[in-house]
Structure formats: C-alpha cells, structure tokens
C-alpha cells in the first residue's frame, strides 16, 4: 500500500541528514581550518550577526568562497537531478527512466560542446545545454510513443538511440575541434570543484522552477501511474501534464548539467532508494528525492575531495563507486518492490 504523504519523522530525518552533510562539507577540507573558528566564521557570515571568528583572510576566503558555494551547488545539483529523475520515472511510467536514459544529458552535452567550440567564454553553455536537453527528450518522447508498440521498452530504446546519435554528433564536433578537447572533456567528467556563487546564481532559478512545477504535480504523477484513461476520467489531460513535466524536468536537468557537467547515477538511484525505504507514492518520492539527492551529492563531493586529499577524484566516479553498492544493499535488504 502506498504511503500517501511524507511523515514528520521523514522530514526531520531528511533535514538532519542535509544539515549534517552540509556542515561536514563546510568544515572538512585539505586546508585544515580549525572547526571552531570555521563555525564562528559561518555564524559571522550570517546577516545581522557579528562574531569574532579568528579566521585569517585566506581561511575566510576558503570557507566562504570555496567550500560554501560548493556545498550549496552540490545540494542544488543533486536535489535537482534526483527530483527530475523521479519526475521522468513518473511521466514515462518507467522506473528505469532517468535523465541519461532519455537523452537529456547527452543533449545537454552536445549543446555545451557546440557552445564551447563555437563561442568565446562560457556564457552560451547553459542555454545551449538547455536547448540540447529539451530537444533530446522531445525526440525520445516523440519516437518512443509512435506506432502500435508504446511499451516502456520502446521508450528506452528510443532514448538509447537518441543518446547514441547525440554522442556521435558530440564526438564528431570534438574530432573537428581538438583545441576544445580539454575543456569539453573536463565538462563531460562532471565536477563541482570549479563552481562558485556565480554557478549557484546560474542554476538556482532553473532549479526553483523545476522544483515548483514538479512538486506541484506530485499528486498528478500518482494518478498517471494508473493509466491515461483513468486519469482522463478524473478530468486530467495526461498529454498536457506530461509535456509540462518533461519541460520542467529537462529544464532542471539541463541547468544542473550545464554547471556541474555530466554527473550520472543520481537521477536514477536516489528516487529508487526513497521508494524502497519510504514508499512509492510520488507525494513521498518527489520531495524526499530532492532532499536525498542533495545529501547524496554533498556527501559524494566531500568524499571526492577528501579520499585522495589534496588531490581530487571526479565526482562522477564517486557517485557511481559509492552509490551503486549502496543501492544494491538497499535493494537486497528491502522487501518492497520498485
């Protein structure tokens, strides 16, 4: 039986985990800043509060200009990717759907690559990535629902084909533009290490729009799971709702990918972990996926910059390396189905 809503305990637990992850991300790092001083520095940075932190100018810059935006960016990217993954799964009634399988990430990758190759600076990367993502998911959706066979397998195959096609285009562009190889490769690897408050400001509006639209439709997603005919009989317009949600999820995915690169795994795994531990209703999956994604990404980033400190491990490696076994454990121990 579906759990209809997020219990106060679940909210509290998710909030505590997010707080712990954020504090760990803020207080741990290779510079070895004193934790007490760092805490005072954080309080001092809050508006209206003045505390003598004892931090040097350099330590203060590391705390507030490096660690803080990195934690916030990790939360936004992880939360957005997990939220959008959950939305895709609901929209397509397919638990295997995620931003990567449907081609959104590959589309964003092509858009970003084209922008890096064709323009100076990175001003066009985000809009180009967004357009690429929207186009990729639209083509997948269009191809996947054509003909008599509208099974989930058809949609997945369409997504795989679109991804392969776009990846081929990206490879072709790269082969003709070796000079951009390093920058594009760095983008593909995915990372939060170079992010600052500028990237946070870039992503935040898109993430907010995606979150508002998807969370507002969480009940509708539950209705869609029983079928389009049933949804229509309740006065809903399934196709219009799907389009709206796909646009919102693609917007969020594209924005996240454009600032952090192609970080995989989060959009697929986090919603499933939430399903396994908290219930399969989208009224639970959507908000808790957002919280879980934020916690997961902050934690993964912390591991990525700590395990080889002072060297760094690409975050995409961490999300898969630690996320996959964790998911398998949850999958094996859970008695619930997906």
């Amino acid at each position: 039986m579906m759990t209809a809503r997020v219990s106060p305990f679940a909210w509290l637990l998710a909030g505590c985990l997010l707080l712990v992850a954020a504090l760990a991300g803020l207080l741990i790092g290779p510079a070895g800043i004193d934790i007490g001083a760092a805490l005072r520095g954080l309080v001092d940075a809050l508006p209206g509060l003045t505390v003598t932190s004892g931090l040097t100018g350099q330590e203060s810059a590391i705390l507030l200009s490096i660690r803080a935006p990195r934690v916030v960016l990790g939360a936004l990217v992880g939360g957005t990717l997990a939220l959008c993954g959950g939305a895709y799964q609901g929209v397509f009634r397919n638990v295997m759907a995620d931003p990567y399988l449907l081609g959104a990430a590959a589309g964003a990758g092509v858009g970003a690559t084209a922008a890096i190759v064709a323009t100076e600076g990175r001003g066009w990367v985000t809009p180009a990535a967004f357009l690429g993502a929207i186009l990729a998911v639209y083509i997948t959706y269009l191809v996947g629902r054509r003909g008599h066979d509208r099974s989930p397998a058809t949609l997945l195959l369409a997504g795989i084909a679109v991804t392969a096609f776009l990846t081929a285009i990206q490879t072709f562009i790269l082969q003709r533009n070796y000079g951009s190889l390093e920058e594009v490769y760095s983008f593909i690897l995915g990372q939060l290490g170079t992010g600052g408050w500028g990237e946070v400001r870039l992503l935040a509006p898109y993430a907010l729009i995606a979150a508002v639209v998807i969370i507002a439709h969480r009940r509708v997603l539950d209705v869609l799971t029983v079928g389009d005919e049933e949804a229509s009989s309740l006065g809903l317009e399934p196709e219009r709702i799907r389009r709206r949600l796909v646009v919102a999820a693609s917007l969020g995915t594209a924005a996240a990918v454009s600032v952090s690169g192609l970080i995989g795994f989060v959009g697929l795994i986090v919603p499933h972990v939430i399903r396994l531990v908290a219930g399969s209703s989208y009224r639970v999956v959507i908000p808790l996926s957002m919280m879980g994604g934020a916690v997961f990404m902050i934690g993964a980033d912390l591991i990525g910059r700590s395990v080889l400190s002072p060297a760094e491990l690409p975050i995409g490696v961490v999300t898969a390396f630690f996320g996959a076994p964790f998911f398998l454990v949850v999958l094996r121990q859970s008695r619930r189905g997906l």
């Binding site: 590391i62 200009s65 490096i66 100076e120 760095s186 290490g193 080889l308």
Partner: protein
C-alpha cells in the same frame, strides 16, 4: 675497413620506453660531415630503436609524415624539414611545416599511406595505426611523450639517425643542452625558495616533479605544490588538485598552461572565487604560458624554461 655496426650511445640516455641506442650497418667507415643536406647513403639501411622496437629504415627517407607535433618540431630543428611531406593538423610549428588534415588522435593508415611516406613518426598508436602501417611495410617510429629529459635527447637522436641527420642532431642537442644550462645558471632567486602551481586545465589538473615538465622546472630550484597530491605516483604525476588546497598553499607562481585551450589568463584567475587574495594573483606571479610550447618536449623547451625562469627571477628581485 669493414665496420659492422656503429653504436651511437648517448651518455645521458636512461629512459626505458624510448631508444637509447641507435645502430646502423655500413660497409665503410662513416665519415662525419658538416653539411646539412649531403648525408652519405652508406648510413642506410639504419636500424633505429623506438618505443615500438627496432625499426629498419632501408634508405634515407625523402617523404616523412609526422603525426606528432613534437616530432615535427624536432625534425625541422635538426634540418630534416625538407624531407617532411606531411604533418598532422596539430603540428602548427614551425610555420613552414606542411600541415594537412591528418588527425593524430584518430589516424587512418590509408590516409597516411596516400602521401607515399618512406618514414612515419607517431606519438599515439590509436586506431591500430602502427599495425596498419607495418602491414603496408612503411617504417614507423613510435615516440610517446617523454617522461624525462634523457628521453628527449634519445628521441632527437633516433630522429637524427632515421632521417640521416646525425651530425646536425648532435649539434642541435648540444645547443639545447647549453641553452638550458645557461637559463638555469642565470636564474637568480636571491636565496629565496619560490613555490609554484602548474595548471594544465581550469579544473586544476596539475603536474608533480616526477613528470617531464615538473623535472624541467625543478632545475630552477622551484618547489612544486602538487607533489604531496601524488606522493605515491598513482596519478602518474598528473593529480587533480582542489581550489582549496591551491589557495591554502598560496604559491609564489601560478603557471598557466591552459591559455590557448581554455582562455585562461591572469585576469581570469583573479576573478576566481577566493583566489583574489593569493600572493601570486595580488602580485605579478601569474605566468601565461603557451599551451603548445608547454605541452611539447621538443626544441622549444628552452623557450618555456626561459619564460618561467624570467618570471621567477623578476619575482625574487621584486621581493
């Protein structure tokens, strides 16, 4: 006198991956020559040992194809430029190099063969290029990125022997070695120990002192802040650092080797979050290197070291 083999051993050579010995089989004594074009035919067939093993070059090559930007620079430096008929699209130096659309990263043996080469030089063996060229019986030298300065000299020597420019090569190598020594000797840091961060790309990939470029810069007495990040060598000397670590290390010099690829410069570094307070940024410690010069191990290593030495010297003098 019958000379069965002439072994040209470079005393400094110690690399494993690249040839250290060049052997040629002749029937008469090799006569040293000072001319740049007249190379006695008796130098051939020549047997050169490259990373892909022994390679026999039957005659003095007149149609060399280079798929290595570094090898192209070396070939022109040693006077073999007129023997080069085609170079890959990345071989942008010297300007007179016959650039084609041959792709070094995704080469095709057929495309290379269309230039009817009698010698091919590569630095990457992708797409089974080496096997393809071997099947076509085209002598091919594989010369991957040098890990040490000794491997640079060995690659020079191999190209000199393979192209029939042994004496010119020896003179060029001696000149480069003398220039490097002069740069090192002329660097006066005033007793200060300066540290540096070498940036390969804007995601903070760097090099340690165990790499070729790191060991080259190390000759100036500069300390590399990236060394602790790959103490065990697991990252093969190319660790990715964190911004936090770089800021905390606060190096005297920030050497940017990503100015062409990624549009990085002193102004771009200055606006990175948290970097504005670093002494290299606040002072004049950000050095904009040419990516191409910095990423090749050819004759322009002198230019690279000279630029870094100049910046370090100025910084030390200003302190």
């Amino acid at each position: 006198m019958r000379l069965l083999s002439l072994l040209l051993v470079l005393a400094a050579c110690g690399g494993d991956a690249v040839t250290t010995t060049i052997a040629t089989t002749t029937t008469t004594t090799v006569v040293a020559t000072t001319t740049t074009t007249a190379v006695p035919d008796q130098n051939f067939p020549a047997t050169v040992i490259a990373a892909n093993g022994e390679v026999v070059i039957p005659e003095r090559p007149e149609a060399i194809v280079s798929l290595s930007a570094t090898a192209t620079e070396m070939l022109f430096a040693i006077g073999a430029g007129d023997q080069v008929v085609a170079v890959d699209s990345l071989s942008n130096y010297p300007p007179e190099a016959p650039v084609t659309d041959l792709a070094a990263f995704t080469p095709s043996a057929e495309a290379v063969a269309s230039y009817s080469p009698d010698l091919v030089v590569i630095s990457f063996d992708t797409n089974d290029l080496l096997a393809g060229l071997t099947q076509l019986e085209i002598p091919t030298l594989s010369m991957p990125a040098a890990a040490t300065i000794e491997e640079v000299w060995a690659q020079f020597a191999a190209l000199g022997a393979a192209s029939g420019n042994v004496d010119e090569t020896a003179a060029v190598v001696a000149a480069i070695q003398a220039d490097l020594a002069e740069v090192v000797a002329g660097t006066d840091l005033g007793g200060r120990t300066l540290s540096y961060y070498y940036e390969l790309d804007p995601s903070y990939f760097s090099v340690t002192s165990s790499t070729f470029i790191g060991s080259l810069i190390g000759q100036l007495g500069l300390l590399n802040i990236a060394d602790p990040a790959d103490a065990d060598g697991a990252a093969f000397g190319f660790p990715q650092l964190t911004a936090e670590f770089i800021i905390a290390a606060d190096p005297d010099l920030i050497l940017l080797a990503d100015t062409l690829c990624c549009a990085q410069n002193a102004a771009a570094v200055a606006v990175r979050p948290g970097w504005e307070g670093m002494k290299a940024v606040a002072g004049s410690g950000v050095v904009e290197l040419n990516d191409d010069v910095a990423s090749r191990w050819g004759p322009r290593i002198v230019d690279l070291l000279s630029q870094i030495a100049g910046a370090a010297g100025e910084l030390a003098a200003a302190a």
